[in-house]
Amino acid sequence: MCSLGVFPAPVTAAQTLFERNNELLSALHPGEHSQACDLPSPQFTRDTLKGHSRPESSSRSVFLDQRDTLWMRSAGAWRDAGLYGLLDEITNSAEEVPRFLAVGSACVLALLRWASSFHGSLFPHLTLSSDEMVAEFSQMLDWSDSALRSFAWHPHTDKFAVALLDDSIKIYKSNSSPTPTLKHRCQRSVCALQWKPLCGSALAVACQSCLLIWHVDPASLSTRPSSGCAQVLSHPGHSPITSIAWSPTGSLLVSASPVDTSMMVWDVAAESAVPLQRVGGGGVTYLSWSPDGSRLLAATPSALFRVWETRMWTCERWPCLKGSCQSACWSPDGGCLLLSMQGERVIYALTFSDLTGINNTYSSPVTACQLLLILKGFSSLSALLNISVGGEVCSLSWDPRGERLAVLLKGRADNHPSVIAVFKTRSSPVFELLPCGFVMGEAGAEPRFMQFHPHFQHGALLTVCWSDGRISHVPFYFSSAGLLGGDSPQQALASNTTNPSSNKLYTEQIS
């Protein structure tokens, strides 16, 4: 139980710049320079980005209505809208077709509608349109309205990709090299981005109809890589894709769609997919691979989520919760999973005990799913501004060292903005969460999405996408409590097992 009132409230609602000496400093503090790090922080406004104004099918209204023959219309309806369209067309043109055909198609249509509405009543998300579904299950808050659609840091270098409202993707690097813009015919309604680990160039893009793998040569100076650089992966019935996850070894890619009960495990280079189907839940909305690669979380639109172990690909069901799983993050060692549920102000923790993998049993004993934290109450930020915060937990992010946990709290109406609360975390000897502070944007800007930089040298770096289209970076400067300077979990493990001073190669010691 934790009240937001415990949090140190900032005095003013100015932009938070960085954390130093356990204190979050804002722009109004005297003597602080405005930009703390040399990472690009671009800003995109809705006006400069043109999304496509209307879907393709509605362009029909522009043209004059012309009567084709029944055959032509039926063929067109079949092509455009499949079986539904065909039946609809036949039913509507009852005077041209034999009576029994019209009646029969009307009956079949009614039956199909009834069946789909029954299916829809079991799984309400299936009644949404494709775009609404993407907006519903995207990690980006307020996806359909935002200029930024998705964001991803490269896991190894200072480079990030941003998907924009106009369905293009821009790639920014730390130095002032050209920023490539990726556009593709199939790249519509981008919902998620992820860079392939252990690779310099491959970027996976979850689109409305397919999965795109861009190969952007880092040495190339071109600003518009051709669409030949992109691999298109698609599977019938597997769209829209709302979440993707690369395995930490970079060999497999898993994609999920809320309408498909099976998630696809792709061997990207071979372009082959293995479907893993579990019917319960009615689809898969969110995927998250543990940093050690041994487990994969798959959330469904229903009140059910699964944890797959990735050795024999068996799964555990977790049906006990109230709402569907909204967001999740793994601890850096993969032993602990934090979850947030839709409509709840609660963070749950799931701890896994067999970290080492010494025993060859495939079962993964989960000790408990415990209530970690209840974010109760409202903290009034400033008496002068009369703003209070607090609400449903929408997004979670844990920094790669396991020292800071950022929680995005959804806002409500006026004077109740979304806000990011940051906790200090410690996993040994006991798990601890200490309030650190709120990360504020410029006046009027609300956070939409956040992600920690995967390998920041001096602590942790939180990148936030704001509602005004700005991307800003908030560094947290601290010295690691437990681990010494390992920037990947493996190196952290390495420096744990051996004395850091003798952490040299065998051959180095000889020579």
Partner: protein, 663 residues
Amino acid sequence: IRRTRSGPYEVLRMCGAGTLHTFVVIWRSVASIAWSVLLLPVTSAVFVLLSRFSLFHPIQWISECTSLLTASSTIFSLVVLCGVVLITGLFNLEFYTLVPSIPCSRMALLGTVLHPRQCVHSLVYCTMGMLVMWCASVTIGGRYSTLGIPCRQSESGEVVTCLNEYHLFLLLAGAFMGYSHSFLGVVQNMYYVSFQPIQQYKYPRFKGCLPMVVKCSVIQSLYSARNFAALYFFFGKIFINLCITLQLYSSLQPLDSLTGLLDFSLLYHLSISGTFLYFTWYLTVLLFRIYVTEAYSFPVQSTFTEDAEQCLPKVLAETNTLVMKFLALQDLALLSQHSLSRRLEVFSLSQPGGHPHNWNAISRECMSLLSELTQRLLAHQDAVASNGRVKSQSAKESNCSRESDFDVSETPRLSVPLRTPGSVFTSSVGGMHSALTAPFTPDVDSPFSSPAIRRLVGQQEPRSPWFGTVQSPHIMRRGPKLWSASTDSSRFTVIPLHGLETPVNSCSCHTLNCSAQVKSFLAKRVLIVYLFNKLPEASSQALFADSQAHIWALQGLSHLVAASFSEDQFGVVQTTLPSILSCLVVLLEAVDRHFKLPHASSKPVRTVCSMGDSTYKTLRFALRAALKTAIYKITTTFGEHLNAVNISTEHRKRLQQFLEFKE
């Protein structure tokens, strides 16, 4: 059939001579056959239900089906079907291959289809198809049940036996489907067994694949039914008149007319029986694939010397049974990622003496696999680069250098500016070697051999016995292909090149004239050009046909090396680190150069639903991705420490690219 029965015995004999491990494969195939036999009653029951289906009399339908299921004729049919499944299973064991045979021209494909072994296969499948269809027609009953029915002759009034055309129709359809199954098995590489990228238990995997199998068998059955109906429409009457002396049962509509064929019930029963037929076969294939590709855990080391043969390092070095080598490599890749305790065994030292035997054997085997692939790629590139030059002497050279010469003839633009006259002879030698190394000959002779792996290990003499043995007739016939193709490829500007070359070798002028005439004659025949023209990408696919082994070797090596950073207590791995790194970098350079060749980086067309596995078509991309990931895995783990590793400057430069994530 006699030949197929000998299959397991051959394997058993090999076991006696070689290793105990082949029993693994035999047991697995026996288990898969047993499961397919056990599933047979279920599929038969479903078939009975569907074949007797009547919408308006549901109760009668159910009661009929239950009585039919317990009838003696059904039991007998089941016994026959069990026999069919058994033979199918034995064929799977006999014919399965881990390295697909990739024909490089349509002629080679034709040769494979007409190979005696394949003919026997087709014959057996035709027979089995007829058997299954006989069972199906007996089960369906009604007008399909018997071949001969009593009928009354119109003029004399006496009762004679007439031919029931419906029954014959189904039987012939069975034979047709059997042949098309056997034919498509060659074309689509049905017997190629590929390993999945993820591990699953057998039951979930079976459950996941089942819808695909049903879909495939339905689609295949519909296609076959359509083709067979067309065939019967044109040739049915001729066939009956030629082969069968019985009189047709005349009161029925003749089936080789449009009205006779457009009988809904007939087509329904045909497609249902066809689906049943294909489903039985596909299910056996599926179960066999699932069982054979299941991961097998080998002990890394054993305390007893008599078990040493079964340990991972020994099995890795195995060359007799390819499947064990593949399973061992898969196990290596898995243990390097998932099992800490077995990794520690790999890094351990031998008890008396303190030698890292395990690691040495494993790393040596992996690196020899990888360097063998490098050699193969380099040889292929040399062959490509030496294009055109060998041609001038080709009339006198062995068949095989022409072959190399041919497979190159698509890339003259690339090679012509590269070569200087001084390099003519060296390049021709290179061409000869490369012909040896390029596994273009479809190997249909041995089930367990990898034509690629074994043939390529050593560079053989051009006149070695290998030439006589493996070059089957259809490959000998490839001779003209080269000439025709080279003239045919005048769009590739080969002709001016010839004009330059001819005066140089005046000694072979006469033969050249002759060959030129033959060439120009053959090149005009469209059919010959069509048959002998090289299929694009085929050479690339053939080069990487067995690359699943290399992918596992790369994964295993890279993960072990990365794990050694924290787990290797004795520095066992780091002594071999320089050679591993240089081996990987050299392979990367070779692969990069290969992908610059024409057709190498073009993606194959996606196949629609078919049981044939086409993963081998994209193995080269998978290998490239696995190679880069492997190098990244090592560089990210070791980081700046790599500067202390003793490798050459160029390799260090390349690795620096990886350290900066610029690849």
